[in-house]
């Protein structure tokens, strides 16, 4: 389990003279579900395409199962890709699409038929063998694309925002289905998305990227609860990010108030980013509060209300199951464990 199936070392990639990956180091373990998460232009798709062999890195090495595979063309790599817009073959039917890779390997016909059938069953498309591609819905095309890649029994499956074109409900279904497939086949999935919820739902580990650099690698829980910096905190879920000063270990000042906290190891009076999740701010009576503010607006979000508060110039977002009346003064409280102190990011 702890074996590295893919290792990237010092990967530098440029596109039109612009650096999109800047010295990337990354190890991906066998049989894990890894997600590259980041805003567009962060280099996540480029990284995936380097692993797939569609882009040659300018510098750095790619290792597959311990062997260097720089310069190996895509058709000689033991990885398969599910493309963003499926890229199914329009001149072939569902069966022929899925059988494409096997036919190239000159596998006997009966064996191909068996494998394709098995794979279509896995993606819930039994009986669709002779359908033409344009008769399928987006979700079905997606399943064909997944089956077409998986039937080759790759050690690693690369998925480039495969659910981007589907509606929300279908996307959620497919997320669970992908996870189920990954666990039943025990192969490595490398998944690219800009959707943080998708990343948290499916992944064993998430790699958060920004402008060609890795910001944080960790389990979804780590990334959410212990973001490495304000960028990660902001990108993974909503956050209140405020400027603060770390007076000494376990004591931080922000919004004009001193708070106890659980972080240490900063310099005396160091400028820091303070990150507080909206759901970690509790609304309390004003006389018991650490902070006060005027309710600016209340938006119903289904599970919770999103309350925007103006605390003497400092804006706060609170998620609460109780609504508040706009215009009233409320008190707010945060427990020390919910105050996350981060080093200022150099821009």
């Amino acid at each position: 389990m702890e074996k590295n199936i893919i290792s990237l070392r010092g990967i530098v990639a440029e596109y039109d003279g612009e650096r999109v990956l800047d010295g990337l180091d990354l190890d991906i373990r066998d049989e894990e579900f890894v997600t590259f998460l980041g805003p567009s232009g962060c280099g996540k798709t480029t990284t995936l395409r380097i692993i797939g062999g569609f882009i040659e890195p300018k510098e750095g090495d790619v290792f597959f199962d311990g062997k260097k595979i720089n310069g190996l063309p895509p058709y000689q790599r033991h990885v398969n890709t599910v493309f963003q817009r499926y890229a199914l073959f329009p001149h072939l039917d569902v069966f022929e699409n899925v059988a494409f890779g096997l036919k190239l390997k000159k596998m006997p016909k009966e064996q191909i038929a068996d494998k394709v059938e098995e794979m279509l069953k896995l993606v819930n498309l039994s009986g669709f063998e002779s359908r033409s591609i344009n008769q399928l819905s987006g979700g079905q095309q997606q399943r064909v694309a997944i089956a077409r890649a998986l039937v080759n029994e790759p050690k690693v499956l690369l998925l480039d925002e495969p659910l981007g074109a589907l509606d929300l409900k279908l996307r959620k279904e497919m997320q669970l289905e992908l996870k189920r497939i990954q666990q039943s086949l025990k192969i490595t999935f490398i998944y690219v998305t800009h959707d943080q919820e998708e990343a948290l739902t499916m992944s064993d580990r998430v790699v958060v990227m920004k402008r060609g650099e890795i910001m944080q690698i960790g389990t979804p829980q780590d990334i959410y609860n212990e973001p490495a910096n304000a960028f990660v905190a902001d990108f993974i879920g909503e956050s209140n990010i405020v400027d603060g000063v770390m007076h000494k270990d376990f004591l931080v000042e922000f919004a004009g108030v001193e708070f106890d906290c659980v972080d240490k190891g900063f310099e005396t009076d160091e400028q820091v980013d303070v990150v507080i999740r909206p759901e970690d701010i509790k609304v309390v009576p004003v006389d018991e509060a650490q902070l006060t503010g005027l309710v600016e607006s209340v938006t119903f979000k289904g599970v919770h209300y999103e309350i925007a508060v103006d605390g003497h110039g400092q804006k706060w977002i609170i998620h609460s199951t109780l609504s508040q009346t706009p215009g009233t003064l409320i008190g707010m409280m945060v427990t020390p464990e919910d105050i996350h102190i981060m080093k200022k990011m150099e821009e």
């Binding site: 073959f89 001149h91 033409s132 080759n152």
Partner: protein, 270 residues
């Protein structure tokens, strides 16, 4: 089904420019000078069988040459960046904006016994070649004039083949040769069919090219037809009969090679 009023102009257009002329050709082909029904005209076309066969043969060769030349060019054009591709495509089209006769005359002066090519060869001490008034010159004239009609449909089909589909094939283990035979070729077949039709049909019935570049010895069926209408052999009935036979033969050839079925491949691409 309800007829839409908007379709009427097209129906009138079709009647005036397609149905009526077609009817006239059939009428002339099946009547004699006095207007009585006869199949003598059709029977007479048998005399021109060798010319007909030569026309089909030369048109087939020209179409094949066009395809071989245009296919790689179209593919390269379709894989280029937008601006480069558009510029090169315009260059391909550019000669078409020049008058057809003028272009063919230009080739006469190039290919003549003491034309430019032979003069240049003479500088190197090479004996003048006989190029004009040969079948080769006719084929070359056809290829030169009709190749844009091969490039355009091929190009328009090939630009629709997404880069991602090609990458998907590579990803699934296809070598460059397999990518071509398994993906690019089948996906470009609609363009190949259209291109062949668009080159073969005008090539088989051309008359100017054969007259100007082929001399008297390489008469094509188009020349014979022209003679019946504009030449001294004036006989519209025979001309119509030959045209009809030619049309039937072309339709027959194409339906035999399956040109009219499988149109859905094109739909699937879009």
């Amino acid at each position: 089904m309800k007829m839409k009023y908007a379709a009427y102009p097209y129906i009138i257009w079709l009647i005036v420019f397609m149905a009526i002329p077609m009817g006239l050709i059939i009428y002339f082909a099946l009547t004699d000078a006095s207007g009585a029904f006869t199949i003598a005209n059709i029977a007479q076309t048998g005399r021109y069988m060798p010319v007909l066969i030569r026309s089909i043969w030369l048109a087939t060769i020209s179409t094949a040459v066009c395809l071989v030349l245009a296919y790689p060019l179209s593919y390269m054009l379709s894989r280029m960046q937008g601006l480069t591709s558009r510029t090169l495509l315009t260059l391909v089209m550019l000669p078409m904006w020049m008058n057809f006769l003028l272009r063919t005359y230009a080739w006469m002066t190039l290919l003549e016994k003491n034309g430019i090519i032979n003069q240049i060869l003479g500088v190197f001490g090479i004996e003048p070649l006989t190029m004009i008034n040969t079948q080769g010159a006719v084929i070359m004239g056809m290829v030169y004039n009709y190749i844009p009609f091969m490039i355009l449909p091929l190009h328009s089909v090939m630009v629709k083949i997404g880069k991602d589909v090609i990458e998907a094939a590579q990803d699934l283990g296809a070598s460059p040769a397999s990518v071509f035979s398994q993906v690019i070729l089948p996906l470009s077949m609609p363009g190949v069919r259209t291109g062949i039709t668009m080159v073969f049909v005008p090539a088989v019935s051309t008359f100017v090219i054969s007259q100007m570049l082929g001399g008297g010895t390489n008469q094509l069926i188009g020349d014979i037809i022209e003679l019946q209408f504009l030449g001294n052999a004036y006989n519209p009935s025979l001309g119509s009969a030959i045209s009809m036979v030619l049309m039937v033969l072309v339709l027959l050839c194409m339906s035999l090679t399956g040109f009219f079925d499988d149109d859905d491949v094109e739909d699937r691409l879009i």
